[in-house]
Symmetry: C2
């Protein structure tokens, strides 16, 4: 197995950056106040968090003094909407049943895709609510802080009874780090449906899965050979690049440590690694 | 593979019944107005439904004109309480976090086991609610019509942070038949925790699993060689007997049909089968 190359000084940074036109950046690991740091390079922020829309991210970034345009953000909520519209050509007369937060609804609406499900938030389950709705052509499941039995039962019912009803996940992270604890992620929230159906989803967006990269490449007409994925998590960010023919750079400001990639038989190793995104600022 | 024996006439019934002292009966498949039909034989009703307590079942049976005593009912809610008290010797100073319905709480209380969790029903998730509670020594998960993100996040937190916190399921049915649709079962409701923990539960009660039979045998001091499990579902009832050294009788009044057990390579076959429980009434 080939070894990771460590980027140590300005000369390394310059040679590295010259190799690429586009950098895909993990959102949560962003400590680098980017934007205009690398003239002539395209920066795209890629996040598995489906709870927010791209517009929400622009606002969040503003508070962190990061200037970003909606078109520079690729969230799993938007990726799902993009995939439904441009890859699956989801029929206009059909609608999506959402298990998830408003970020998904906003992005579906922005692509002109009809949806339902959010009105079932915080509702008690009543068997008489489980009734046919042949217009539901897909169930899209992401992180959902309002998950309940009614939503699970309705989603299961549509998937079992509507012919060709598609089952999509925004992402399949089993957990995510909340403030002070580890919370169930979209992969956990969708597990009841996978168990009850005894089948895998038809597609899973989100890092490290292929549909996310395909959508990014298609939308931005990227040359993946001149694209680099930068992030702090091996299982999502680095695997995302490794799985999809994109060079990877691990930054050690997050969960992964140098020893994780230097041990014998490390399961996931990046092409490059460095201490911190912030070091690129030395170039300016 | 040995073949199933079909019970066809009164002579068959008599010879069959003579072989056993105790009959374990699936509750939901009960069409046989039992009780005093088979003098000298012990009848026990065994159900995977954890939503009800044994007392609830006595009431339900009364409405069906079936006389049954609480001690003749073995629900997965009671089995869980029995297992915690008598097998695990669950410490008195600890308590159980319940994901499930009141039947579980009632049965834990009847065995003197402290519990919490039901007050989180229909509550919105707030990150600040996820706080340590070192008294939680186990999470017990069953069917829960009030499942929500708060309950999942709390259960996950206790299982990850409380050392030796035990993870139990009342049963692992992926689905159950509701009126007019297939609903997510306890196996689906527990799937987020299994996914987020990336590990199996420490024990699963309920048919067809061994702990349920062990508890029944221990409580009633049964000779399992003189015990027969009667039910209408191959995967739960018949597998329950087959897995645990108990003779099985399939009745064809439910989901399973004769062809399911007569085909070559049928995965689960009962020792005996007959058209209907009701045929035993011909003996009286």
């Amino acid at each position: 197995m080939s070894k990771s190359i460590k980027l140590c000084d300005i000369s390394d940074y310059e040679k590295f950056i010259d190799k690429f036109d586009t950098f895909l950046l993990d959102c949560d690991g962003v400590l680098w106040k980017g934007g205009d740091t690398l003239p002539g390079k395209k920066l795209l922020f890629v996040t598995n968090n489906s709870a927010r829309s791209r517009a929400d991210y622009v606002e969040k970034f503003k508070k962190l003094n990061i200037e970003a345009h909606e078109d520079e953000i690729f969230s799993s909520s938007y990726a799902s909407a993009y995939y439904l519209k441009n890859v699956l050509k989801f029929p206009k007369e059909k609608k999506i049943y959402i298990i998830g937060e408003s970020g998904i609804a906003d992005e579906l609406a922005s692509e002109g895709i009809r949806h339902c499900g959010l009105s079932d938030n915080d509702q008690q389950f009543k068997p008489e609510d489980i009734v046919p709705d042949p217009e539901v052509g897909a169930v899209l499941c992401g992180i959902d802080f309002h998950i309940n039995f009614k939503k699970l039962a309705k989603a299961l019912y549509y998937l079992k009874t509507n012919s060709d009803c598609i089952f999509l996940l925004t992402n399949d992270d089993a957990t995510f780090p909340a403030s002070g604890f580890i919370a169930p992620g979209a992969g956990a929230i969708s597990a009841p449906l996978i168990t009850a159906l005894n089948k895998k989803p038809d597609a899973i967006m989100g890092k490290p899965n292929k549909p996310m990269m395909d959508c990014i490449a298609q939308k931005f007409k990227l040359n993946l050979e001149r694209t680099c994925m930068i992030g702090d998590r091996l299982e999502t960010d680095i695997q995302f690049g490794n799985n999809n023919g994109v060079t990877t750079l691990l930054v050690l400001t997050g969960i992964a440590a140098e020893k994780d990639i230097l041990v014998d038989n490390a399961p996931i190793i990046p092409d490059y690694y460095m201490s911190s995104f912030g070091d690129f600022a030395k170039l300016c």
